[in-house]
Symmetry: D2
Subunit: 287 residues, 4 copies
């Protein structure tokens, strides 16, 4: 069987493409936890070496995936629980100590399945300007993180690479951390809108392909970065390939087409709220 | 090969599913015109008998399809030409004489690929209230159509069938014609956002399946109805079936998923403008 | 002092324009309650006779006004309390017994201070179609109200009077009650976005002036109507008049201008949610 | 008469507050042109000295105001003419030679009267990324300006000063010019949505008051800046003061209230299109 490069932004799915779970890939470790009560599966894929990175088609780093089928339902209580679980993992990856954090909402706010990042930023508790003007005591606290945020837009809207915009703002405002939120492409439609990936390896806005000079990475930005992503689309070509195993069956007019649930507007709205709540919980402290 | 019921709202595609063009179906006539200069293909499928209707899975009536590949491009001049061609067909189907027309924008304005109808209504020239208050001379004319419009919403938003809302308004305001605009499902992704179907057989909002008691038809409404539709999605199951010819390959999680181009927001905006311009041109007269 | 006709949709303010509270107007009774704990003042103005109606410039009926200064703040808990208080008054005015209710969201969804009605409808729990298909047992209940809703749009969008649309739908779907939501004009900017008026005298969409043939009233619709309104604007002319007592000071270019807080978008969003929650609470029962 | 500090962002109105036109202010020159055919009045206020700046309450620079009453009407042809006139003044102020230009859309896209800047950016022809990838020949030209754009958001959304964001992006992408678009406050409601001010003195986002350390000025940014503004609101306090000449008449609850026309959503949409067209025309060349 030919190995057509199916597109996925999930390390979990890149791992699965090697087939059975017990196949070992050198330089990649994998660990799975299942929270039965809440039906949340957490998979950690650790890409440890450049060899592992090459095999996986993803940069070295820790990739943490929450699969929570209930996320695609309209259940406020369940979403709140996921926010709390997610907040714990965000805190684990970012470490302790009072910090200033710049949240970057990637994607195009006018294209529904791509609007996750901009919508997350809409619901964030923004504190940097208040703390700088009045101190953390304005919030009745002893210590507290400073949160700032930007929705940079996509290249067709700005004429600039996202990297240029974020780099400029980072150099001017000196955050300790960047959190970047983006909508992802999955390989399997069963993961749409119910899977959240956290990773510390950075992110390539609008790509997956091409050069990586301008990725939002710790190396390029000079500060650590936590990327949070949710798969909201599957490439139409991918579902054909997965059903047939034959790339010649993919009609050319499927290029640029994607698969998404009919109620994607509503799902993006709910998911973005769940993620912004998780960030609010995680950052509302001087841990 | 099993005959899986692929979903299409286009009579043209229902016709194609019988295979080669020269297969004749009793009670269905077909005629094609091609405007080479503008690259617009117009196909008339006339379902003449109940037998033909059963074979096609569509009610008796005239179905007129414009295929204009340029519609998916951002070319204002081309869109204006299509508006003019479309206006002629609207006038042909509606006949002559000063009339009052109720335009109904079907679909859910909050779900992008379903928002075609509501967006068409946004751009219409609404005249009924002005003519009733000040006469057609307010527009400096001798005779003129009265245009009114409603966006009824979908059942999940209203708790009512679209038919109940439209029927109530028709009985209260007595239009001579109803024009209903709706987003459709196609079988082939190559027809998305570049095909416009006109038909005089009425329309079943939000269905295609189930009972037809409450369709928007001349019989049910008591006035003639012209339905204008554009395919904006393909069912995900359909593209798998078309690539494999095997319904067992359709993963259950593809239910409720659809295929659409990434820039669907922009396309719906452009197409809705093109259609509303066509209606404005067609109705701006006492023809 | 000349009696310039300042515009207000609040019976409370029409009453105040007579000056001191102890002036009695024949045919108008007034009663005030103050809930100190929640800082909610409820004033009942009962216009009992046609004489009273003429004096007040409002039709005969019961007008109940909640003034809750906290409504203009972003305090979720307080808004929930107001929803509960409001729900009680809705139940009081509508009486007991299982009912079917049509909620009408008046106003223009594209003009922010006028979008209150459409936004309230967005958040309603719509049940009519489910109950009619599956019975109230679908909700695990013994009895339950049927809720349907419509956003008719304004005359410039539809070419029809709101009355025609609502009347048609009422005649087709036979609700027991109509609830109409609308944005109002106040006389005093201190009442903006913190006052809710309930009344059983019907409502004149888009007017306040002119003939009342086509008001949404019990007499015209054939079913009782509860109108819920919130003042979201003050006419610019009114604030000048109130500051000067002199209508000659009102510059002509102030016509069509209104006064509103800068964060009106956010306020309308919050208030519409508070009102839809109140309706959801009030109707989620077979009282 | 006491000199209450009425708020205006228009140099033209600051000048008028000195009363009769023939009063001379040292360090301020004024010149007026009237294009009778198109009914466009252009006033140039040149603040030449620090003394003049102090008297006017505005920094040293050239302020050019177009007053075009027709702008508040829905007349596409007239708007196109204003775009062309405006384009000439933009070119005059920016000078000749191929350039790279960063357009900054100031204001809050979710608050209608403040959304002018973000909406202007939506309609711009963005070219920088294409020219950098494929050269100007991609457009079939010999020389051409590079256009990039950003919508930074307001401080409550970002936690950062607009200056920090723009400064960072300027330092990273090195444009030759910045054009900043903002909604302004006028003193007189007769100027709303029909006046456009161009100035080369920079702009203080979200202020008018307080320190000017962080203004978007040539001095602070290191590149020349052209500010384009349209008054979309009048402070409610101002219209009371202007009608009464007495600041004690301004009710405290008018704080934070503004006066705006009812159809402000529609006006902002039209005006933003007119301005983006002007910028597109002005920059579509290597003049």
């Amino acid at each position: 069987m030919d190995r057509f490069q199916v597109r996925t932004d999930l390390a979990l799915e890149a791992r699965e493409s090697f087939g059975e779970d017990h196949v070992e890939i050198r330089g990649v470790s994998i660990h799975e936890d299942y929270d039965k009560e809440r039906d949340i599966r957490v998979t950690r894929v650790h890409i440890e070496t450049e060899n592992g990175a090459k095999a996986m088609g993803k940069p070295v780093g820790e990739y943490l995936t929450l699969e929570a089928p209930g996320l695609s339902e309209e259940d406020e209580d369940y979403h709140r629980e996921v926010s709390e679980v997610l907040a714990q993992y965000i805190q684990e990856l970012m470490g302790e100590g009072e910090q200033s954090v710049l949240v970057v909402g990637l994607g195009n706010r006018d294209v529904t399945p791509d609007a996750l990042g901009p919508q997350v930023v809409n619901n964030l508790m923004i504190t940097r300007h208040i703390i700088r003007e009045y101190g953390v005591r304005a919030f009745g606290k002893e210590q507290m993180n400073q949160v700032s945020a930007i929705v940079p837009g996509v290249m067709a809207q700005t004429g600039m690479e996202t990297f240029e915009i974020v780099k400029g703002i980072v150099e001017e405002t000196h955050p300790d951390w960047v959190i970047a939120i983006d909508a992802l492409a999955a390989r399997s439609s069963k993961r749409l809108n119910r899977t959240i990936q956290l990773c510390d390896a950075g992110i390539n806005p609008g790509s997956g392909v091409g050069n990586h000079r301008n990725g939002l990475t710790r190396e390029n930005l000079g500060v650590p970065i936590l990327a949070i992503g949710v798969p909201t689309v599957v490439d139409a070509a991918t579902i054909i390939y997965d059903a047939t195993g034959d790339r010649s069956r993919i009609a050319p007019n499927l290029n640029g087409m994607f698969v998404t649930p009919k109620n994607v507007d509503e799902m993006i709205k709910r998911l973005s709220y769940t993620i912004s709540e998780a960030i609010n919980i995680a950052l509302d402290a001087g841990w």
